[in-house]
């Protein structure tokens, strides 16, 4: 009995300890590469491989944590609802931008994956790489991709977007903070939004809205395509 209890709590405790440690580290050394999620996951993987702990042991306990993925996704609706006033003001440009951005994301991911010769499962996993993790995981599951790969590419895209955002803004001569914000949110979701919030409040707000809008649009496009062909 004690052993089972130990088994289950191991996963939970390891996850929480790793995350708190990563947050502490991120607070002291501020660089976008030290994303708490990334650091925590790396730490856990290192521990599991070093001590040769089978993944299933960890996952037995961690299942309690991943149970909250559903509610965490639903709460995105709360975030969208809070922003509805701002969304109404700039509805058409934001919608148009997110639409074109989502289409670009899906099409370019698909074409590049095929060009690089990736197999179908990996391709399907990278399609929703620009939307926020919970939605991306749902889309990936429906399309027949591998969820863990999706999480990896989503985090990678987020980090890349947040690092490149200021450079790209200058490179493409984006004058309006609204345009920049929507662009950041569409390509690098929540991780990019943190960066956008540092630059400018309006950019950050627009970025947050773009997460929700482009998430929904990408989901509609991906699932329509899937149900038409699948």
């Amino acid at each position: 009995m004690l052993l089972t209890a130990l088994h289950v709590s191991f996963g939970i405790i390891l996850s929480i300890v790793a995350f708190e440690g990563a947050v502490w580290l991120n607070k002291h050394i501020r660089t976008p590469l030290l994303n708490p999620l990334l650091v925590a996951v790396t730490f856990i993987i290192v521990i599991l491989t070093t001590f040769r702990i089978p993944l299933s042991d960890y996952q037995q306990g961690a299942r309690v944590i991943s149970f909250f993925l559903g509610p965490a996704t639903a709460v995105l609706a709360f975030s969208i609802y809070q922003q509805i006033t701002i969304l109404k003001k700039h509805f058409i440009p934001v919608l148009a931008g997110c639409l074109m951005g989502s289409i670009t994301s899906i099409v370019s991911s698909y074409l590049l994956c095929k060009a690089f010769g990736m197999d179908q499962a990996v391709t399907m996993s990278t399609l929703p790489k620009s939307v926020t993790t919970p939605i991306a995981m749902s889309i990936s599951q429906e399309l027949g991709g591998i969820t863990s790969i999706t999480v990896a590419v989503v985090i990678a895209s987020g980090i890349m977007g947040s690092i490149l955002a200021p450079t790209l803004t200058k490179l493409f001569h984006v004058k309006s903070p609204i345009a920049a914000g929507v662009a950041i949110g569409t390509c690098s979701h929540a991780i990019g939004t943190s960066k956008a919030l540092e630059i400018n409040e309006l950019e950050g707000a627009m970025s947050g809205i773009a997460i929700g809008v482009s998430g929904l649009i990408t989901m509609i496009i991906a699932l329509t395509y899937h149900s038409l062909l699948g």
Binding site: P93, I135, V153, H226
Partner: protein, 250 residues
């Protein structure tokens, strides 16, 4: 009273439309306090989700603590002097009040999360019934959005729980990300290609999105300008609109 430099409540952003005046003042006061770094005891949240707009709920509980703490009169025997013993008692009472409010907040968070979970379970059932193949998470999200928009659920009913989930969202993804270990064989040979794909698509998406938003905004501005000019020239709004549409048809 809003002549502060806090652009957060600038009406152009439209963000302050659901905040009352006193709460807005509290937030400004809170920000000033944070800037001075004076109040070391106030809980500055370490994790702030970028998906949060304004932590109204946090502000309310902080102001509640402040009000109750200010209401304490440490001078117990009324002699006008605060002895060390009285000061100690006052400090203990303050700590108790703080713990009391935070405990209430914790319980509120748990109950609200339970409510959200209930909505999610309803969403799951609904997703099974639907003819279209929509993921249950998304159905739950849409159900919650509908509840919020129709007023079935008020924001304050789930604000604390929702903000907690949003702030700690990264934790919930740790198990899913650790599962990469299982598919490492698929990623390892392709890792450079995947990184390149991420890079190229991110840049492309950024460019297309920013270009589209800028162009649409310019177009809309030009359309508005044209309408305004026509209305001024014609002197009659109706005629201006009709002329505009005729020009468009040609």
């Amino acid at each position: 009273m809003r002549d502060d430099d806090s652009t957060l409540f600038d009406d152009d952003h439209g963000m302050a439309s659901n905040l009352g005046d006193d709460i807005a003042d509290e937030v400004v006061a809170e920000e000033e306090r944070e800037r001075e770094g004076a109040d070391r005891d106030s809980r500055v949240p370490l994790l702030q989700s970028p998906l949060r707009v304004v932590d109204e709920a946090d502000v309310v509980s902080e102001s509640l603590i402040k009000r109750k703490v200010d209401a304490i009169n440490p001078d117990l025997n009324g002699d006008g002097v605060i002895s060390p013993r009285e000061a100690r008692i006052a400090r203990m009472r303050k700590a108790l009040i703080r713990a009391h409010v935070h405990l209430h907040k914790a319980v509120r968070i748990i109950l609200q999360i339970a409510l959200i979970v209930a909505v999610c379970m309803a969403g799951e059932r609904l997703a099974d019934i639907l003819p279209v193949d929509v993921p249950s998470n998304i159905v739950s999200m849409i159900v919650l959005l509908v509840f919020l928009m129709t007023g079935t659920l008020r924001m304050r009913n789930i604000a604390d729980g929702a903000n907690f989930l949003l702030d700690h969202m990264s934790i919930f993804f740790i198990p899913a990300a650790v599962a990469i270990m299982g598919s490492f064989s698929m990623i390892a040979p392709n890792i450079i290609k995947l990184v390149l794909i991420c890079l190229i698509t991110t840049v492309l998406v950024f460019f297309v999105t920013s270009f589209t938003v800028s162009t649409v905004m310019n177009l809309m501005a030009r359309l508005d300008a044209r309408k305004a000019r026509a209305a001024i020239a014609g002197g009659d709004a109706q005629a201006a609109v009709r002329t505009d549409s005729k020009e468009g048809a040609r």
